[in-house]
Each structure stands twice: as structure tokens, then as C-alpha cells.
């Protein structure tokens, strides 16, 4: 893979005219009127994880995503140095449209700015990856209750002993999120989320956490513990924390991500995600 391959944003085009909700949210963020997390913002619009890398690392990271599509579903990749992502929103400017960023040097957090004015470089490539907000909305719409949502908790996430497929300097374990479900609901959840490969797709595992190297469900590595009752199975999905952990472990000389929970709101509609 060479540089230009990374610059292709792919065939991800909204099926509809850009919806006002996503753009309104970005304009509010850009103007400093929205500074908190984006959960519940612009309902029905796809939100994304953001990873921004120098072009020298971008081809390798894109290859890592290609090899690990469940934890790393790529929604869009920018042209090098271009702050726009036209397939996600005509006016989108990645330098201003995320409520809070994290800037990393050699894997060390150096800043948490609300815009990238002083950090932008002409060699940066932006990756936007699908996030689980959208598939959780699809599960709830299908009548499948999610305990962590009902309790206002963060989803429980675990580092597994399952390795991702390495690409150059990017490698590390798969991180999964876990949602407890009654068995019949777990079956329906497989069917609902399999239709949504752009936001992690079908579960990667059901029922036997020890096979993933998870010793204690009550002690997640990230997020909040959530009870799994006797009549429930733990259902595990590949998690967008995976690429973030892999990028941090590679200690790139420079990297920008969104701050946790502070996602990029796009014009894509969740209802258009099926089988994308």
C-alpha cells in the first residue's frame, strides 16, 4: 500500500440529502455551544470514533483496520492534510467539529483541546470508525433492553487474550464490550447487529468469558461493571477501544483522537447502516 491508497474515502455516501440534525450538532460544537459528550446528540445520526495520524503511519493503520474489520469498521478516511470528510458531511471540518480532542506525542497525552487550531499539520490523515452507539440504538429499537443504558452506566469493556491481526507496528489484543442478555434476546441481537457491519457487526462471542481470557466479569478493564443474572448470557462485541489501545501501544510520534465519549457526529443516518 502506498500513500494515495489512504486518501480514498470510499463509497460511503449518504442515501439522503444531508440531515439537518447532524450538521446542527456540528455547528453547535464548532461554535462552542456544546462542550460535553455526544451521547444522545442528534438522534438517528451515526457517530464515529476519530483517529488522526501522520500520513507516514496512515497506510499501515488502514491495513490494520482492513485486517480487523469488527473492532475497526472504517466509515471514512480523509485526504492527507485535508480537514474535510465530505462523505460524512458536506461542511464537516475535523479541526473544529469534535467537542474535545486528545493530542498524543510518543504515546503520551500532551493536550485536551476543544479545537485543533494549533495542532493541525499538513500531513495528517483522519480515520473515522464506527461506534457502538448506533448498534445499541438498533438493539433498543428492536425491543432488546440494555442494562447499562437503563442504569445510566458506561458499557463494560474487557481486554481479551485474543490477538488482533497485526499490520506493521500496529498490534495488540482485541478489546470487547459486554452486554448481558436472556438467551432468546441474544439470538435476536446477533441478527440485528449482523446487519450493521459498519458499527462492529455481529457479536464475536457468547457465553464463555474464560475462553476470551476474561477472569472476572465483575471487573471490567474499562467502563462500569454490569450484573449478569442467572438467566442471562454475557454477549461480547468487538469494541472501538481496540484501535485506540493499539495506536497508543504503538507510541506514534504524533496522534490525535477524540476524548472518550466526545464523538464526531455525522450526517449518516443509522437507518441507512444496514449491511453497509
Amino acid at each position: 500500500m502506498s500513500g494515495p491508497a489512504v486518501a480514498v474515502t470510499g463509497p460511503v455516501v449518504p442515501d439522503q440529502a444531508p440531515a439537518a440534525g447532524g450538521r446542527d450538532a456540528r455547528l453547535a460544537i464548532r461554535a462552542g455551544r456544546h462542550r460535553t459528550h455526544t451521547s444522545g446528540l442528534a438522534p438517528g445520526h451515526v457517530q464515529g470514533n476519530v483517529v488522526i495520524l501522520p500520513q507516514a503511519l496512515a497506510a499501515e493503520f488502514l491495513l490494520f483496520c482492513q485486517r480487523n474489520p469488527k473492532p475497526c469498521p472504517v466509515l471514512a478516511v480523509s485526504e492527507p492534510g485535508a480537514p474535510s470528510l465530505p462523505s460524512l458531511g458536506a461542511d464537516l471540518d475535523i479541526r473544529t467539529d469534535v467537542p474535545r480532542y486528545r493530542v498524543w506525542r510518543d504515546g503520551v497525552l500532551v493536550d485536551e483541546p476543544v479545537d485543533l487550531g494549533r495542532w493541525w499539520r499538513d500531513d495528517l490523515v483522519t480515520f473515522v470508525l464506527g461506534c457502538s452507539f448506533s448498534f445499541e440504538h438498533a438493539l433498543i429499537a428492536a425491543g432488546l433492553p440494555l442494562r447499562h443504558v437503563a442504569l445510566g452506566l458506561n458499557v463494560a469493556m474487557y481486554r481479551t487474550t485474543v490477538p488482533t491481526v497485526a499490520a506493521g507496528r500496529f498490534h495488540g489484543p482485541l478489546v470487547v464490550s459486554m452486554r448481558p442478555m436472556k438467551p432468546a434476546d441474544a439470538i435476536r441481537a446477533v441478527l440485528v447487529t449482523a446487519q450493521l457491519p459498519a458499527v462492529h457487526g455481529a457479536p464475536v462471542h457468547i457465553g464463555k468469558p474464560e475462553l476470551l481470557g476474561i477472569a472476572d466479569l465483575a471487573r471490567p478493564d474499562f467502563g462500569d461493571p454490569v450484573e449478569v443474572r442467572d438467566d442471562e448470557l454475557p454477549v461480547f462485541w468487538a469494541c472501538g477501544v481496540t484501535p485506540q489501545a493499539v495506536v497508543m501501544a504503538a507510541r506514534p510520534e504524533f496522534c490525535i483522537t477524540h476524548a472518550p465519549g466526545h464523538m464526531l457526529v455525522t450526517d449518516l443516518l443509522e437507518r441507512d447502516l444496514a449491511a453497509r
Copy 2:
């Protein structure tokens, strides 16, 4: 529901010209050249469970099937008194085309003939229901191993404490079949079989047999016990034994079924079953 509604065979029409394999198998059975079970006969062709009832009971049984589509997926229903099922095979004659039948009076087995010459009546309605052979072929084709098939055993089946939805005198517990699978294979099996509602569709349960009222997986009510290993989950599908058990429990004054394993071979192709 009134009598005439039962006489409709529905829109199940082969997508292709009738395939020789299914007809060849029926001709061999009709001529007495094939007298054993039909497993492996006419590969790629859909086989069906057979229930033949007097017209006076047929409307109620069709309603039972409508209310319980997972255990009772109806492939075709004959006209009253007609031995033909043109949607399953142009030449099909239900009186001669099953290798062995069972004839029941008031719920008691009275004969196991190889044809229905002396038992046929002008008020009989034939129901053909999808069977698990087809979804097992789809699972194997998808690379998902089935232990009972590899070991040459019958699948393990269990009477559950889950009630079917009653219709008139037809009621009783759901019977399920169980196949042990590694968790990732169980997820793929959900996706493969959900495409095949005409042959029981997606599993009804995964992982917690006690929630179905199954006390001991090692002691199935029908079929052979099959080991479930520590790294596997038991995956449960609705089973075609359900309608047979329900019909027997209703003790109809007269009823004919296929003998176990001696199914009706149709012209329908398994590859045409997806989402039928």
C-alpha cells in the same frame, strides 16, 4: 377458519424446473426400490415431515402451525382428498412416495405400511412441514461441524417446559433439537439458519438448558445423547417432533405420518430455501 382455507397450497413454487434428483428418489420409493430412511437421498433437495389428517381436523392443525411457525414450518397443504402436492413435485403422489408410513387410530399406532392404498380416504388433507436435514446441510456447507452427524448419531431432542400456542385440541410442549457448538460457531449458526425459516429458522435458545426445563443434557427424550464440551454451548432449535407429539397427544380418530427418518423427498432445492 373454514374448510376451504385449508385447501390452499400457498405460494410455494420451485424457482427452477423440477429437478430430476427429487423425482428419481420418489420413483424409486414408489417402485419399492428404496425402503429405508431418506437421509442422504437426493442431495440438495428439501425433505419434509408428513402429517395427514381428516379435513375436519385440518383447519385446526393449520392454525396450530400458523401460531407455531418455528416448530411447524408449513411447506405445502393438499386439497382435501387429493393425493397430489404439485408445489412440491408435479407427479408427487403422497399415497406411494414415502418409504414407510405410520397409521394411527385414536392416537394408537395400527399399521406401518409402505403405501397408503388401503388407508386412503377422500377427506384426508396432507401437511408437509420443513425438516432439519436442510438446515443441517446449510450449516455443514457453511463450515460448521455437527458432532452427531460426524459420529453417525441421531440428533439429541428434548421435550421442554415451554408451551406451544394452542389451537383447538392441538396443544403441548415445544420439542427442541440440540447441537453443541463453539461460541463463535453458534453466532454463525444463528445467521445461517435465520435465513431458512422454512426449515425451523434461527435457534430458539442458546446456553441455558435449565431455562427450558431440561434437567440433564445427557438424557435426551428422543434421539441420541451428544457430548457438550467445556468450550461449547448447547444450541437449541425448534424441532419437527413438536407437531407429531402434539397430534398424537390430541388422539385424532385417524391420522397418518411418515415413519421416523422416512421423509418425503421434494423437488424443492435447498439452495432456494433462503428467506422463503
